[in-house]
């Protein structure tokens, strides 16, 4: 029998891998993907708690989080495209000036 703690553990590990990637990688597209990893880790925790409590609120929250993630990726990727068009770089460490 799988307990809720095991699902929470998987969620925590996914979140920590996302944090690790976000803090160490250079490529800004990979940074966006690490945000996705973190959202999924949190969502797994939400769903396992909601299975535990027998209420649907957690699933509703995960649904909203998915929509917000889609919006964020759409806007973020178009900003990345714009930066690449103007600065010809994808390195997050090179994007240091607010105005070019």
């Amino acid at each position: 029998m799988i307990t809720a703690n095991q699902y929470l553990m998987v969620g925590a590990i996914l979140f920590a891998i996302g944090v690790l990637g976000f803090l160490t990688r250079r490529n800004i597209i990979v940074l966006l993907m690490c945000i996705e990893l973190m959202i999924n880790g949190a969502g797994l925790a939400f769903v396992s708690f909601c299975r535990q409590m027998g209420s649907l609120e957690g699933q509703v929250f995960v649904l909203f989080a998915m929509v917000i993630a889609a919006v964020e990726i759409a806007v973020g990727l178009s900003i990345i495209l714009l930066v690449f068009r103007n600065r010809a770089t994808l390195d997050a460490d090179e994007m240091e000036s607010l105005k070019w």
């Binding site: 703690n5 690490c34 699933q59 509703v60 990345i80």
Partner: protein, 167 residues
């Protein structure tokens, strides 16, 4: 049997998630992230959230990752492939912070006694599209409408950002 399925899904999720942050080529990162999202959908299905699992596959592994793939294929930039990680000290600090975070979040989970499986039996149709829809459009009506406005704003914003300006 349930144990076996859970461990396969958890292993797939963790291995492919580490592959996301370790791959040299961004394209391979995107493909590993798709595997991660699919195994998370698998775990949603095991946690009696079938609708969420379907949405995860369609919206995340389908729509969002296709967007990622398009952008990755459009942009060619090789410097971050030879130097994957941030220079010098920043890389080490990030690693230390992430490990500290993992310990901080795993230790309390280990110390608390494991939550017992849900005592009350789940209502029939728990997590189905019907039950989720009936709570979404009554109790969460305002957030749903606000999410619609947010989507509209995002569409306008993306069109504004990526539109070609006429000189």
């Amino acid at each position: 049997m349930e144990n076996l399925f859970f461990y396969i899904a958890a292993m797939l999720a963790i291995v492919s998630a580490s592959s996301v942050i370790l791959q040299r080529k961004v394209m391979y990162s995107v493909l590993s992230l798709i595997v991660t999202l699919l195994s998370v959908a698998w775990m949603y299905a095991m946690l009696s959230a079938p609708f969420l699992a379907v949405v995860q596959v369609i919206l995340y592994a389908g729509a969002i990752m296709v967007l990622f793939l398009f952008v990755v294929m459009m942009l060619k930039y090789e410097k971050t492939e030879t130097f994957r990680f941030r220079p010098g000290l920043l890389w080490c600090l990030g690693l230390v912070a992430a490990i500290a975070f993992l310990i901080e979040i795993v230790l309390p989970l280990n110390m608390t006694e494991s939550l017992a499986p849900a005592a009350t039996a789940l209502a029939p149709g728990f997590g189905s599209i019907k039950s989720l829809g009936s709570i979404l459009y009554t109790q969460y009506l305002l957030p749903i409408e606000l999410t619609g406005i947010l989507l509209l704003v995002a569409v306008v914003g993306v069109a504004l950002l990526s539109g070609v300006k006429k000189e």
